[in-house]
Amino acid sequence: MINTKDILKDLGERLRGSNESHRVRLRAQLAELAPNRPLPLDKRRLGGVVTWLTFSTGVMAMLAIVIATHERPVAYVNTPPLDLVILDDDQEFYAGQGRLDSEPNAVVTEERDQLPRKSVAATRGVVDYEQDHGSMLEKTTTINLMTREDDAVGKVESLFTSVGGHLSGISNYGAGQPSVLTGEVPADSYFLFREQLHGFVRADRYITESLNAQDLIPSAIEIDENLVGVQVSIDELSQQIKDTKDEGKKTKLQAELDKLESQKTNLEKSRANLTDRADYVRVSVGVYDLPTLWQVDANQYEIQRVIAGFGTQSFPVQAWGNVLMVFFWAIQLLSVTFWLIIPLVIWLALRRRQRKTWKELE
């Protein structure tokens, strides 16, 4: 069945081709006047919105490259994220943190994996000792903290007195160097003291919550373990001496037994000393100023941070770097959105609507 459209199309086709002779004549005439004359280019595009969009996008891209090139790269370390701002530092057992060597600017870094593990108490005597005296009362503890608090030294000082301890001295090494507070804290209050230090640092809005340091290894436990070992050896040797009839061999065994007895005596003395000192923990607190990124050179900050024992990764610098990067990318996103995505979406929407309309018309 022929519909209206088909009739109209047939008629149109016939009409369009109904005057070929005139078309050829006119073409020849026009060819003389304008042989291959091209249409002018779209001048508006040369200086219009399209060009400005392209130009602006190019400028923004260049700006992004320049800023990205000059942006201080954020360094990442292999160690676990160190939001570490307070550290119980023990000369023997702590590792993975940078320390100041005898040379002022030399930093010794030990591997984290070399951290020794706390030995397990295996004897009843040691367990009893831990129950009576705790397991970490025998060490001189060094704590380093870094803060922006104006009166950090005063606050740490008041902490000593608040837990019933006493401050024996404050050393101030000048600008850029830590103030070191040394004193003693009652053994029973040591945990409280450390908790308050943590809380004090936590209150600093620039610093995240600190990681707990490793527990101290109890020397008393080691001594007790050694004592047990020595006692076992003494018992065995004593038994061998009784059983041996050879006088020469007996003399040698007796000499070894004497050595063990001497060793046992020394261990018992050490143990007695520890017990005597168990009432107080000697504490040294190093207070470092935490500068802002705007106040100091980043390298200086890094060195200061490493000296303070906080590793090579500086959280605040990284945080500021992240903030800057987020800010930077936010600007980029806005720029791209404004100059590229929004016009593109509008253009696509209009085109889609137009095509839909054309389709409907068909």
Binding site: I7, L15, Q29, L30
Partner: protein
């Protein structure tokens, strides 16, 4: 992107001629108008600025429409429905055979005559829309620009117009 003028001429001559011929109903006059339109277009080619999606086609048809306004007298218009009362003094033609200057099959002649008569009964805008779309075979984009109407409006108008023609033809 530029295209040689003659290439555009080859593309648009048949379309423009069909459009003008339907408007003036006179072959010689249509030829003159089409010729004048292309000459003007060539002359003013430098002033052609394809803004807001305007194309060469829509610009060309706009020139043609201006020419038609200057030359066609509406009071002299004879419709294709007036074959029996053709004015002998008129230069216009009222049959499709006269328009095409060709012999047609009876069935086709009657069919096309009816269609043209039906188009004559439409409003000016409706007739122009159907003419541009089916007789001149212009793309919709150019029709929208030529008629200065929104595509949505054209869509509705075309649908209604075709329905009118269909009913008038009894299809």
């Amino acid at each position: 992107m530029s295209r040689p003028f003659l290439e555009l001429y080859d593309e648009y001559y048949p379309k423009l001629y069909a459009y003008v011929l339907l408007r003036v109903r006179h072959r010689q006059q249509a030829e003159d108008i089409v010729q004048q339109t292309f000459l003007k277009a060539l002359d003013k080619l430098d002033s052609f600025k394809p803004r807001h999606g305007a194309t060469f086609g829509s610009w060309l048809f706009q020139i043609a429409k201006n020419e038609l306004v200057d030359r066609v007298r509406h009071d002299q218009k004879i419709t294709f429905c007036d074959t029996e009362v053709l004015d002998q003094n008129s230069s216009q033609v009222s049959t499709i055979e006269q328009l095409l200057q060709a012999e047609l099959l009876t069935e086709q002649k009657e069919q096309w005559q009816k269609v043209l008569c039906s188009l004559d009964k439409l409003d000016d805008d409706e007739r122009e829309l159907v003419t541009l779309k089916y007789l001149s075979d212009l793309p919709y984009q150019e029709i929208a620009k030529t008629m200065n109407k929104k595509p949505n409006t054209l869509a509705v108008m075309l649908k209604r117009t075709l329905e009118k023609v269909r009913l008038d033809l009894g299809l």
